[in-house]
Symmetry: C2
Subunit: 219 residues, 2 copies
DNA sequence: TAGATTGTTAATCGATTAACAATC
DNA sequence: TAGATTGTTAATCGATTAACAATC
């Protein structure tokens, strides 16, 4: 295989997928600071990875550096954007207009990166009709019909646990390809639909565990 | 080492730490449904892990099962609570009373599991004095003094990116042992302080990547 | 050119799984 | 007891790292 060649459809390991956003975040920062070159050693130093790991991760997708020089920040950033699929627009529907839903709806970064919230749904009659980030809140009963008329790439679930699976089913039946799940529910979806979870409780429990572990180590 | 013996201070692998909350969540559910026994094979089936992995994970902490029977749900749940450090109370201070902060402050599960928000801070003068979940919102300038008078186990950072490191420094100087970080910042802390991140943007980027990958596979 | 740094290969490390003796 | 399932060991698998030829 030539250096510029792309590996053929090999599944990318979890670990690599987890590090790509970290690279993206840091390259964005370097770029905004006007830095124009960076080596794998410098990236590793800043991000606390080994240089070899960074080069190995990037090599899943191509050859973006130059021997003796390193990487051009602007070019590598553009490549990472391409890898992450950020060069296309993503349409989102958001279900649940509580605090979490509001937080997501009002976070400008998403829109800036092409993640556009097209519609918001909730079950609370008091909220229906309210405008949030330029979007009127609709009743969740309309979700099914909405998805028949408008396609959406990603469904965001910011409902209580009890409602999550039912909402998820409607979203998947309505053709979303990805679910961004903020509820503590463990969702079942059709083959091929991608679920990304933000489990706040799990995160806090990991923190609690490490605190507890640390305490015992110090004893 | 005897079966009941506890492994001595060996660092627990990341993967294991990540699965403990999943076990906890599912055992809690089984317990609330009145199920009283479960085997590693059943757990594996439900959670999509191998039975061997579950037994192996648990064996880091002790022997909680019985040959030919499996695990007693109530007992195993209690053990997992113990492992996670849920049998002690955790005091939290929350910095940032925006949407994310409000979401955290109003999520009853935390309190029920012993994570008590003792104080809330924000920089917005309009919010100061407002009561949230039984807690008056104070000005962030008071954070340092507050921590001198009251100890806290965990500092929750729900501020914009720009403020995060400065808030983190005050929290760490004030003696918190863990940081639960909802900002997109990559925080630097003193040795021994534990940071658990909820990076919403990273999560959405992982989802975007997998959607993009899937699309190329289908091409 | 000489120095630096890539992309990749081989070696190492660690995590997962299969298998099974122990035993409830 | 006979059947079931644990906890653990050994085998396997996959990910990380070290090393280096290629080369800018």
């Amino acid at each position: 295989m030539t250096a510029r060649g792309r590996k053929k459809r090999a599944a990318i390991p979890q670990g690599v997928v987890g590090r790509l956003p970290v690279y993206f975040r840091y390259l964005t920062e370097l770029h905004s600071l006007g830095v124009d070159k960076v080596s794998s050693a410098q990236l590793g130093e800043a991000l606390d990875f080994t240089a070899a790991q960074i080069r190995s991760d990037l090599s899943y997708f191509g050859s973006f550096g130059q021997q003796g020089y390193g990487y051009n920040v602007a070019e590598l950033l553009q490549q990472v954007r391409q890898i992450l699929g950020l060069n296309k627009r993503h349409s989102l529907v958001l279900v649940g207009a509580g605090n979490i839903g509001k937080a997501i709806g009002s976070y400008g970064w998403f829109r800036a990166e092409g993640f556009i919230i097209e519609a918001i749904f909730d079950i609370d009659p008091h909220l229906i009709g309210n405008i949030h980030g330029g979007c009127a809140i609709r009743h969740v009963d309309e979700l099914k019909d909405y998805l028949q008329e408008h396609s959406a790439d990603i469904g965001v679930i910011a409902t209580p646990k009890e409602a999550a699976q039912a909402v998820c089913d409607v979203l998947v039946a309505g053709g979303v390809k990805g679910i961004w799940n903020f509820s503590p529910a463990q969702l079942n979806v059709a083959e091929g639909v991608i679920v990304e979870n933000i489990h706040l409780t799990d995160s806090l429990l990991r923190l609690a565990f490490r605190l507890h572990e640390r305490e015992q180590r110090l004893e």
